[in-house]
């Protein structure tokens, strides 16, 4: 090795080179501030947002369980009405990574389906989004006022951030325990209503060499969802508020403690299939839907679509409500954890921002909503789009039934998605479900995650009441 001395000359040359490159330091945030919104035409009853008569609408849509063709359908509906406008749909699985440069550069898309594991945290961009109350105030393509034809309460509760309706969530997601009606009727089983009943069912399942439940490592927090739902049904709205506002004792509330104990008993009895913490989640779900190693699986209504190609024939997918702790919970019977999912946002700086709102209007109209329900076998936030036979889907029928039984008693929570703590929760839940952590330690671990956010002054908190 040659001797390289680091002399004065090297130092000076190096410093000069470094100094010459300093102006490059802020390149990432530079760039044009983007063109202002396309010259808005005059607004009329037919064109309430003043969209330009010709042009394209740039739509970036999350390509997940619901695919993206329902937006294409809405786009063709829009083009039928406004012949000069086309909707360009770009599917994406990593919304945050793809759109970060566009948001910084000031030229975001016109409408975004901000969903999936790679979604942008709402708190990060909420100031750059349009208030979509203006969209609900106009008429649909069928001539009825939009706010009358949709589940307005669900939309408002899922998409309001600090007083602004920043997102219109499109899919009505029901959370339930899913099972095979065929398997249950063949064995004379009934879906359980409380954790204790679930434990009994687990014993019966064991006799038939099946597990009661299973999980996959990326979806271990599906069980956290059922635990929180169970606690809220048992303890009422106060339980929800304590969690949403990140209180230091939110995971120590009695209802929460009891729910965790209920699941712990199932795990301790060996009714939760082991190995889930090393299994990829769709592979685990296939073990439930195809080989039927387990009876129940907690998920949202997207499960039918997601596992369509891996479900045993004549499975008869049906949903039952999540368990309560006792048989006399605080919330009325039939209360359902349901929320509007698939948040659609319209960035204020989009080149054709009016077009983005128009696409939303097209999607919320009856034609597009019925198409979604028919092709995705899932509910939208638009009322009365599903016939009684559920387009032949047992899961859709049971979703409608659960929603009808719930009436106005649907509830949900935002704090996990808003603060982006799902990833940290996964670590705790994987250990808990694998039997490596007690219920008390799991609650402590989850509380620590919440406390970290609560004590972090750089994070803007959501005030929930």
């Amino acid at each position: 090795m040659e001797n390289t001395s680091f002399g004065r000359r090297t130092l000076i040359t190096g410093s000069l080179a470094a100094a010459a490159l300093v102006p490059l330091a802020s390149c990432a945030t530079g760039g044009s501030t983007g063109t202002s919104s396309a010259s808005a035409g005059a607004s009329s009853a037919d064109n309430p947002f003043g969209m330009a008569a010709s042009g394209t609408v740039d739509a970036v849509i999350f390509n997940g369980g619901y695919k993206t063709d329902y937006v294409d359908f809405a786009g063709t509906q829009l083009t039928k009405k406004f012949s000069g406008v086309t909707v360009k749909v770009s599917p994406s699985t990593q919304i945050a990574q793809e759109l970060q440069p566009r948001f910084v550069g000031g030229n975001p898309p016109d409408i975004v389906d901000n969903s999936g594991a790679g979604a942008i945290g709402m708190s990060t961009i909420v100031d750059q989004l349009e208030d979509l109350t203006s969209v609900l105030a106009v008429n649909s393509y069928e001539g009825k006022k939009l706010s009358d034809t949709v589940y307005e309460a669900a939309i408002k509760s899922a998409g309001t951030y600090n007083g602004k309706l920043a997102a219109v969530n499109y899919a009505m997601t029901i959370y339930a325990y899913w099972y095979s009606a065929w398997l249950f009727s063949a064995n004379g089983w009934t879906p359980p209503k409380t954790w204790a009943e679930a434990l009994d069912l687990g014993a019966k399942a064991k006799a038939k060499n099946k597990y009661l439940m299973l999980f996959g490592k990326e979806a271990a927090t599906y069980y956290l969802t059922t635990l929180i739902a169970s606690a809220i049904m048992e303890g009422g709205n106060d339980v929800r508020l304590s969690l949403e506002n990140l209180k230091p004792d939110c995971y120590s509330q009695q209802a929460v403690v009891d729910s965790f104990k209920g699941l712990e008993a199932i795990i301790k009895a060996g009714y939760m299939k082991p190995g889930g913490s090393g299994t990829q989640f769709t592979a685990a779900q296939a073990q439930w839907s195809n080989t039927q190693d387990a009876l129940l699986y907690p998920s949202g209504g997207w499960i039918e679509n997601e596992m369509k190609s891996q479900t045993k024939a004549d499975f008869q997918l049906t949903g039952c409500n999540e368990f309560t702790v006792t048989s006399s919970p605080k919330m009325p019977a039939g209360s359902l954890h349901a929320t509007a999912g698939e948040p659609f946002v319209v960035p204020s700086k989009g080149a054709n921002m009016a077009g983005g709102k128009e696409v939303l209007r097209a999607m919320l109209s009856n034609a597009a909503a019925t198409n979604f329900a028919k092709t995705r076998l899932a509910l939208t936030v638009v009322k009365d789009t599903v016939p009684a036979d559920g387009f032949g889907s047992t899961a859709l029928v049971s979703q409608s039934k659960l929603l009808a039984a719930a009436g106005n008693n649907t509830f949900s929570w935002q704090f996990i998605d808003y603060y982006g703590i799902n990833k940290a929760n996964l670590v705790v839940m994987n250990s808990f479900l694998e039997g490596q952590m007690s219920a008390d330690d799991a609650r402590k671990g989850l509380q620590a995650i919440v406390d970290k956010v609560a004590n972090d002054s750089s994070v803007k908190k959501l005030q929930v009441s």
Binding site: M1, L21, V22, L24, A25, S26, C27, A28, T29, T33, Q94, A96, Q97, Q100, F103, V104, G105, G106, G118, I120, G121, S123, T124, I125, D127, Q128, K217, E218, K273, P274, G275, G276, S277, G278, T279, Q280, A283, Q287, D293, G420, K423, A424, L426, V427, N430, S431, E434, Q436, S458
Partner: protein, 341 residues
């Protein structure tokens, strides 16, 4: 030319009164030498790579360092400088500390295992053959060379996805073979979900992917050593292990050093393997790497300034590792230059 000496056109009187002067228009001579060939050479082989290097390597590095001192969210053009607050935040964060520890563990263990294994294989393939006759490798050495390179030809993400399935607790090959052999305790055993086996499993996958490439690298290095040296050692009675440790290893010292540094750089990153095998960080974050934490912080939490600080720390760790390797190499006799001619 003789006019320059100021003498007559006859033979020059001795001694010469003035030294020959350098041609006046030096720049002119230099400019005359600038042919199209030379200019295009500079531009294509020097200018273009330099421009690419500055744009895609140096500039982002500088930007990352400067953004690490701000509170940039990554999704708006505005930001404020916050000094060292980001560094204080991440160095005190227990998740990031765990990630740093995991990367340090990887950097210590993985290069060592890969180098030892690939050196062993390389010596066997080149000089580990019969103890008599010509110096050659073991029987079938050519075949081993070819197949051991295959894992490196597979993209890292494909390796990760593949091994994820092979280690699947219910339907994976590993558990299937082990339970088939009678080890019933491995029924439904989560290799990637058990806190004691998750990290060793990931290390195994990384080692599997790289041994072939470094074996080929060391084979090339060992082939550069003249066979007479090995014959002389053999005559002096050196066995295979002795030859490997005292003859082969010192003579390919620089190759080992380079390989060590490359592997250290890979281990301090290790993003593809960690993300493919355990995207949520592993049981109790036991396989979480700094690069995964960086991605989460940047895109899920919208804190680009903090993420840049993490990146700077990763860079510093890499530089520290390289310096350590150089020092160890110097310290163990690398200072002496060995010539083989």
């Amino acid at each position: 030319m003789s006019a320059a000496f100021g003498g007559a056109s006859g033979p020059t009187p001795w001694p010469v009164t003035s030294l020959p002067r350098a041609p006046k228009h030096r720049a002119g001579r230099w400019r005359r030498n600038l042919t199209f060939d030379k200019i295009s050479l500079f531009v294509v082989f020097l200018g273009l790579p330099l421009a690419l290097y500055i744009t895609f390597v140096v500039s982002p590095l500088i930007q990352a360092v400067s953004y690490s001192f701000t509170d940039w969210s990554g999704f708006t053009p505005d930001f404020k400088p916050v000094g060292f607050a980001n560094y204080v935040k991440i160095l005190g964060d227990d998740t990031f500390q765990k990630a740093m520890y995991n990367n340090a563990l990887l950097a210590v263990v993985v290069p060592l295992i890969i180098i030892v294994l690939s050196l062993a294989l390389a010596t066997m393939v080149t000089v580990g053959g019969a103890g008599t006759g010509q110096i050659r490798g073991i029987k079938g050495a050519g075949f081993y060379r070819v197949i051991s390179f295959f894992p490196y030809a597979v993209p890292a993400i494909a390796i990760g996805i593949m091994w994820n399935l092979i280690f699947d607790p219910s339907s994976g090959l590993v558990n299937g073979i082990l339970t088939g052999l009678g080890f019933s305790s491995f029924h439904l055993f989560p290799w990637l979900g058990n806190i004691h086996t998750a990290m060793p499993t990931m290390m195994f996958v990384i080692v599997w992917g790289f041994v072939g490439f470094y074996m080929v690298l060391f084979i090339a290095a060992i082939k550069g050593i003249p066979a007479e040296i090995f014959e002389a050692a053999r005559i002096d009675g050196a066995g295979r292990l002795r030859t490997a440790l005292s003859i082969t290893l010192p003579l390919i010292r620089e190759n080992v050093q380079t390989a060590y540094i490359y592997l250290g750089i890979m281990a301090i990153d290790a993003f593809v393997y960690a993300q493919a095998l355990n995207p949520q960080g592993g049981p109790n974050n036991s396989t979480l790497t700094m690069s995964q934490e960086l991605l989460t912080t940047a895109f899920q939490k919208g804190e680009f300034g903090v993420a840049c600080a993490m990146g700077v720390i990763m860079g510093l760790m890499t530089v520290l590792f390289a310096a350590l390797v150089f020092t160890v190499n110097r310290g163990t006799g690398g200072r002496d230059r060995i010539t083989l001619a």
